[in-house]
């Protein structure tokens, strides 16, 4: 079936468009799609693939959106796409709508297209994928898998993916199963040849080798966290499965098996414990850290809710702990496979009573790696939980980032832990005594000394010598010392980062985590519009002095967040005593990763008002 009139043709573009794949969940499309993105990465072109997947094992629609940007914009672009690869009949109506005018709808034309799906302003390019697959492969499972590989081969012809890049990925993927290399390459070739046969010329959307990915790597934030935990010296990982954090523990285990198994004995210099629930997972982490091992857990919002009581114990009893929260869309079960930055307040003020927790906000896989390793030093140094807030977008999608680095001259900061010799020199050990005036006391680990250093760790009030007390003064002294420690904390935390800094700019944009790429792209857009702005990216809580200084020096301040309630703004207002009317918000919370277009739209009312007036925008994104 053909459209009734001829749609406009897109201007030829190179390395700057979006391809979206519409697949059926559980059909093996993920690996084919990943191969597509990786081939583009290997061609030296900046690429950012994102899975948009359902909470489902098999059958529901799932999408894979790949932005290709020679300018290096790695945030989600948003809006309609230039090329839709439609392999899922059930989502076809929506997928047709998602193509931009003049764009291409690539589909399996083994069966006729429903006439209701015909738009006259887009191009339909059909290839009989099912027929090609079925006539080349007998086994039904192989038919399904190779259909995915075949369309990648067709795309290689249509948009100019280097065939050698695809071949290289197949060889790497099946390095341990070399028998599978030839059939996969044949399937790619089949797709390529069939497309060439069917279409006289490739599309005006073309890829061309570039050199933008030198010294870059492509990986998921969760795997990077797992690797960071290995490098940071974690020995005990206790966790409970929950999307989107599960692959953190799996990443840790994978890398630990590669890097931490004693070659002589085969013994594991690590332990991964799948707990019965999140309460138990954090309990194990606290027990292990209490006993001097570095230990962490990974969870998502519902898990953080369950861990509240234990986090209060660790704060009050001063036990190190590392928690990686890969945030998803809340509240409650929310949208478990969609992203959000909405656990900020529950994490910052986790647990009942007066309690506050250290937070870290990585924005890239490289920062996931580095901050996870750092988190163990920070937790040991400050003897308190450290909660790292990543999100589904960062954790479960592959992102391009600078290659990972490790400085061999660095050594772990285990903080103030007394050994037997230290204890010998001390008249009386005071577990909660502020010896150094920084609010951080000295601790001991069980079994250190036969006579000295033992104490009873507890969540009940006690004096400086860990002796139980219900005396108000002693309780209050301890709470005030914890405040001194809190004031010490920023010294050990990563500083906020300013990337655009021009004294002449009156607009300052504050952002954190995965709003990074989209915010930077927005700043470029604003510069081109002649309205340049500065930015500050926050990496940790409690905030350093730099956050207040940034706010003070800008007439207008906007905070970009991926939640409804402007949670970071609340934290800034509350902790830095900032007038809330000084801070505007751009809020995005529909579960999709934030895009520059959305930020730009959100900024519009703020740019149109004079400094000092208040504006807040939220909207349903397209």
């Amino acid at each position: 079936m053909s459209p009734s009139s001829t749609p406009t043709t897109l201007h030829a573009v190179t390395n700057d468009f979006v391809v979206k794949f519409a697949n059926v969940n559980g059909s093996g499309s993920a690996s084919a799609n990943s191969m597509f993105a990786k081939a583009i990465f290997r061609m030296g072109i900046p690429v950012s693939p994102r899975n948009i997947f359902p909470s489902n094992i098999q059958g529901a629609p799932t999408w894979y959106e790949v932005r290709i940007s020679d300018d290096g914009y790695l945030g989600r672009r948003g809006g309609q796409v230039e090329l839709m690869v439609s392999v899922n009949p059930q989502s076809m109506a929506q997928d047709v709508e998602d193509v931009c005018p003049g764009g291409y709808f690539f589909y399996d034309n083994t069966y006729p297209l429903d006439f209701k799906l015909i738009r006259d302003d887009i191009h339909y390019i059909g290839l009989p994928l099912t027929q090609i697959t079925n006539s080349n492969f007998d086994n039904p499972r192989l038919q399904q898998l190779f259909k995915n590989i075949i369309y990648v081969g067709s795309l290689a012809y249509l948009i100019g993916i280097e065939f050698s890049a695809l071949e290289g990925i197949v060889s790497d993927t099946f390095a341990k199963k070399p028998k599978l290399i030839a059939p996969n390459v044949s399937a790619l070739q089949l797709g390529f040849d069939e497309a060439k046969k069917a279409f006289s010329e490739p599309l005006p959307l073309q890829l061309k080798r570039s050199n933008k990915n030198d010294r870059k790597v492509l990986l998921e934030g969760n795997a990077a966290c797992g690797l960071g935990a290995v490098f940071g010296g974690a020995t005990v990982c206790a966790w409970y499965p929950i999307t989107p954090s599960t692959s953190v523990a799996e990443g840790f285990e994978k890398y630990a098996k590669q890097l931490r198994v004693n070659a002589d004995t085969g013994e594991n210099n690590f332990a991964v414990i799948q707990a019965e629930d999140e309460l138990s997972a954090i309990g194990m982490v606290i027990g292990a850290n209490w006993n001097g091992a570095r230990s962490f857990t990974a969870t998502s919002g519902p898990g953080v809710s369950l861990m509240q009581e234990f986090l209060g114990l660790a704060y009050f009893a001063e036990v190190p702990a590392v928690l990686i929260d890969v945030q998803r869309t809340g509240p409650s079960t929310g949208m478990p496979t969609r992203t959000q930055q909405s656990d900020i307040l529950i994490s910052a003020y986790a647990s009942h009573g007066d309690s506050k927790q250290i937070l870290l906000f990585p924005a890239t896989p490289k920062e996931c790696f580095e901050l996870t390793a750092d988190a163990f030093d920070i937790a040991d140094r400050l003897q308190t939980p450290v909660i790292m807030l990543t999100d589904l977008d960062l954790g479960m999608n592959e992102h391009i980032c600078d290659e990972l680095e490790w400085d061999d001259s660095r050594s772990y900061d285990r903080g103030k832990v007394l050994n037997a010799q230290d204890l010998e020199k001390i008249e009386r050990f005071g577990r909660y005594l502020d010896v150094d005036g920084d609010g951080i006391p000295y601790r001991t680990v069980a079994g250190t000394h036969a006579e000295k250093g033992a104490f009873f760790t507890r969540g009940t009030s006690r004096d400086e010598y860990a002796v139980y007390t219900e005396k108000g003064e002693a309780y209050q002294r301890n709470m005030e010392r914890l405040e001194v420690k809190w004031a010490t904390a920023p010294k050990y935390l990563p500083k906020a980062i300013e990337t655009r800094r021009d004294e002449a700019n009156s607009l300052g944009v504050i952002h954190f985590g995965t709003s990074l790429e989209a915010t930077h792209e927005t700043l470029d857009v604003l510069s081109k519009e002649g309205r340049p702005a500065n930015d500050l990216r926050i990496l940790a809580f409690p905030f350093g002095d730099d956050v207040k200084a940034f706010i003070d020096k800008h007439a207008q301040v906007v905070i970009v967040e991926q939640n409804r309630d402007a949670q970071l703004k609340s934290l800034i207002v509350n902790e830095l005593q900032i007038d809330p009317n000084r801070l505007h918000s751009v809020l995005h919370y529909n579960g999709d990763p934030i895009s520059a277009r959305q930020i730009r739209i959100g900024l519009e009312p703020i740019l149109n008002i004079s400094a000092g007036q208040h504006a807040q925008t939220a909207y349903e994104a397209s």
């Binding site: 790597v217 010296g233 309990g283 490790w406 061999d408 104490f455």
Partner: protein, 350 residues
């Protein structure tokens, strides 16, 4: 409770092989009620550890919340302790134990802490066969909140306000047997002769060892009509076996034993000697143990002693395949793969 702890000790108090008297195993002054069963259990723990010739600081005392969980403060002052949160002692102990397998872990919990809020963690620490001694100081009620029924209160038992408990009780021993516990015992806080050797066997056992100890609450659950009172327990207790713990160095003599005896050798050569009331009872047969337990229950008898033991089993350390060197003592050179490893990882990510 008392407010004063005398310093005087008999100058000829016996010493263990470490040259220590029991004084080295004492703790702080108890704040529990006078006559509380838990204090007897604390005393038994001190005796048992002293008798095993273990240095106090090689022990970690773990607990949750409640009267029972306060008690680790009242024994072994030279050992670290961790009074965690309600019902969560098993998870904290699991983490601690995986971090340092060389210490001996004594978990002290209560019936509220274990059978209600902590039921999940209790079940799973058993499944993992964590190498620890888990004591339940079981009095059938919540003491610190003034005597509400707990989940181990027997159906038909009367509480202090005269209300009859309508709910079926949870038998922690039966549950532990069902979940695969490798050492299951029951005892009574008023029976030190039985309790101390049971504890010594439990601490020597490699794997999870439960001792469910009926420990009457003198303030809220020691009245007529309660099935967890001293009187009721004494009237209904029936020792399935009289237990003796025999260190490997000590010759086994049979002179004090009447009736049928059975010797179960532990992993390190120590053994548990059982003097059995019924010669048919085999504590290494889980099915038999469960059946016998149910028979006792049907006859309204409280079966005590060593109910089940599996002397050789893989505990959690074996399952995890972790080294003999405790994880908490591994140094950076072993833990951190370093820059060169990262270079090849980077290559794999292109």
């Amino acid at each position: 409770m008392s407010f004063f702890k005398p310093n005087f000790r008999h100058p000829e108090s016996p010493k263990n092989t470490l040259g220590l008297t029991t004084r080295a195993y004492e703790g702080g002054i108890s704040t529990l009620c006078a006559g509380c069963g838990h204090d007897s259990i604390s005393a038994a723990i001190m005796q048992a550890v002293w008798g095993l010739n273990i240095e106090p600081h090689r022990i970690a005392k773990m607990s949750g919340i409640g009267c029972s969980s306060k008690s680790p403060n009242y024994f072994l002052n030279k050992a670290h302790g961790f009074n965690s949160v309600h019902g969560r002692m098993p998870s904290v102990t699991t983490g601690a134990n995986v971090a340092n397998r060389e210490l001996l872990y004594i978990g002290v919990s209560g019936d509220g802490d274990t059978a209600s809020i902590g039921m999940g963690q209790f079940a799973h620490v058993i499944r993992r066969n964590l190498n620890m001694m888990y004591l339940v100081e079981n009095n059938g009620c919540y003491g610190l909140t003034k005597g509400q029924d707990s989940a181990t209160a027997d159906a038909g038992s009367k509480n202090k306000k005269g209300r009859i408990n309508p709910f079926e009780s949870i038998d922690l021993v039966a549950l532990a047997l069902d979940l695969g516990a490798t050492f299951v015992a029951r005892s009574f806080s008023g029976d030190k002769e039985q309790l101390i050797p049971l504890m010594q066997a439990a601490m020597t056992h490699k794997g999870f060892a439960l001792i469910d100890i009926v420990s009457p609450c003198v303030t809220f659950n020691n009245h007529a009509g309660s099935t967890k009172s001293y009187d009721y327990t004494r009237d209904h207790v029936q020792a399935g076996s009289v237990v003796d713990f025999v260190p490997v160095a000590q010759e086994i003599t049979l002179d004090q034993i009447q009736g049928s005896t059975q010797n179960v050798e532990l992993h390190n050569g120590d053994s548990v000697r059982l003097s059995k009331l019924s010669k048919d009872y085999d504590p290494t047969d889980r099915g038999h143990a469960i059946r016998t337990l149910l028979e006792h229950k049907a006859q309204d008898k409280l079966m005590t002693g060593l109910i089940y033991i599996e002397p050789e089993s893989d505990n959690f350390h074996d399952t995890l395949n972790i080294p003999k060197t405790p994880l908490n003592s591994l140094k950076e050179d072993v833990l951190c793969p370093g820059k060169s490893a990262l270079t090849s990882i980077n290559e794999g990510l292109r």
